[in-house]
Structure formats: C-alpha cells, structure tokens
C-alpha cells in the first residue's frame, strides 16, 4: 500500500491508497510518523478517497496518530469518507474525537 503525503505549513494531508489492515498499517505508521517529525506537523488530515478497505487495525492506526497529535496540541480530521468506510468509523466511535469534513479544502479552512 502506497500513501501520498502533502505538506502545507504545519498541516499534513495523507492520502491512504489501497487497503489498510494490520499488515499494511506497519509501513504506513513508520512512514507517517517520520514525516510528522521531520516537517514539524501539528495537524493531520486523512484523505480516504483512494481507500478500498479498512478494518479495526486501520482504526487503531488513526486513533494512535490522534493521541500523538493531541499531545502536541494539534487536530486530526478525515475527509472524502465513503459510505463503506463511514460505517466502521461510526461504529468504532472515531467521530467522538476526530472530525469528518467533506473534502480537503474544507478541512484545511477549519484547522
């Protein structure tokens, strides 16, 4: 699974591309944390437009990034969430701590 990273100031947009499970989460975690550290990222936006599959391991990855970002006073958002991804986000309680925006430009305005 290949992810795309776009840095805008202290904000990072991560486009998750493909299937996010326990196997693919390992490499994304390492890659993502490196970018956050190197570029002094404070706010994180996950773009789900290219995501074809996610399970609880993917939820674990997003929630752990949320905890890290919270520690440095930043925010995490998800955008372009399909109805299939929305179903597991809702049942997992992800939206209690992470805001969903329709698309990246709207999220950027709020963060």
């Amino acid at each position: 699974m290949e992810s795309f990273y776009e840095v805008q100031g202290n904000k990072l947009i991560v486009t998750l591309n493909g299937e996010l499970d326990h196997h693919t989460a390992k490499s994304i975690r390492t890659e993502l944390d490196q970018v956050v550290l190197k570029k002094r990222i404070e706010n994180l936006i996950f773009d789900m437009s290219q995501l074809r599959f996610i399970d609880s391991s993917g939820i674990g990855l997003i929630l752990a990034r949320y905890k890290n970002i919270l520690n440095i006073g930043g925010k995490v958002a998800v955008v372009n969430v399909s109805s299939r991804v929305d179903k597991i986000f809702m049942m997992s309680g992800l939206y209690r701590v992470i805001t969903k925006y329709e698309n990246t430009s709207i999220a950027l305005k709020h963060m």
């Binding site: 326990h22 196997h23 975690r29 609880s56 299939r84 597991i88 049942m91």
Partner: protein, 150 residues
C-alpha cells in the same frame, strides 16, 4: 431447491495473508449475488478474525489458519480456526475496547466489528488447543427466477 456449497482453505499465519483470507472468502460467497455492502461486511469480519489469529494466537511464531465456508441456502457460515494457544477468557476478549496488546496500537474493537457486520458470531476456544470463530450471515439474495421474469 436449496443451494448448498462448501470450501476450505489453509494458509500460514503471515500478515500478508490477511488480504488473501478476506478476498478468497469474498470470491466464494460472490455466487450468492450479495450487495457490495454485504461483501464489505464479510471481508471486514474475516479480516478481523484472521488478524486476531496472526497477532494474538501465534504471536511471533508461524502457525496454520484454516477457513471453512459453508453455504446453506441464503445462510453463510464462515469458520476461522487456528491451532494456537487458545483464549482463556472468551467473554473478556470479546468486550469492546479490550485488548491484550495496547502497545501494538490495537483498538480492541475486533470482535465488536465482527458482531456488528455479521448476524451471529460464536467463539469456541480451548487453552492449548486452539480457537474457532464462527461468523454467520444471511444474504438477502435476489431470487434468480424473479429476475428472469422481469
């Protein structure tokens, strides 16, 4: 006449096989003509069961995981089994947000996902012998004869 079918697949408990396990089940149940949502539900539940076996049962060792799928009419029964260490307290393992491995960024909602996305989830486990997770779901198949008339 009621339609019945059966398949069995066995693979090593490597994390690469999480995708293989869910895709092979999805391909098999496709013959019941499920909706995209039903297929996604099944894939997600199978992924949770297989991931559980890889992470919690075999930990850093490699063991075998077996998936058996039985189709009985519109009912699908999926058994995901391992010969691992077993679960001491099944009720505890199934509690929402419980994880034995918080350091691995486990969200602890694997069983909750299975229960939400499938109709019935049953766990049979014996310490030292292994675990079998049974996932059942009814597919609301569009009757093929009705479709032909239309």
């Amino acid at each position: 006449m009621e339609y019945n079918n059966y398949m069995k697949v066995e693979f090593e408990s490597k994390s690469h096989n999480e995708a293989f396990g869910r895709v092979v089940v999805a391909a098999f149940v496709a013959q019941l003509d499920p909706t995209i949502e039903e297929i996604t539900d099944i894939k997600t539940a199978v992924s949770e069961a297989v991931t559980n076996a890889i992470i919690h049962v075999y930990e850093n060792k490699i063991g075998l995981i077996t998936i058996v799928v039985v189709i009985k009419g519109k009912e699908i029964e999926i058994d995901v089994s391992d010969n691992g260490k077993g679960i001491e307290n099944v009720a505890k393992a199934m509690e929402p947000l419980y994880t034995s491995k918080p350091e691995l960024e486990r969200s602890g909602i694997g069983f909750t996902v299975m229960e939400t996305f499938m109709d019935v989830v049953k766990v049979y486990s014996k310490v030292g012998e292994g675990t079998r997770i049974r996932l059942s779901k009814r597919i609301e198949k569009f009757d093929s004869e009705v479709r032909e008339v239309k």
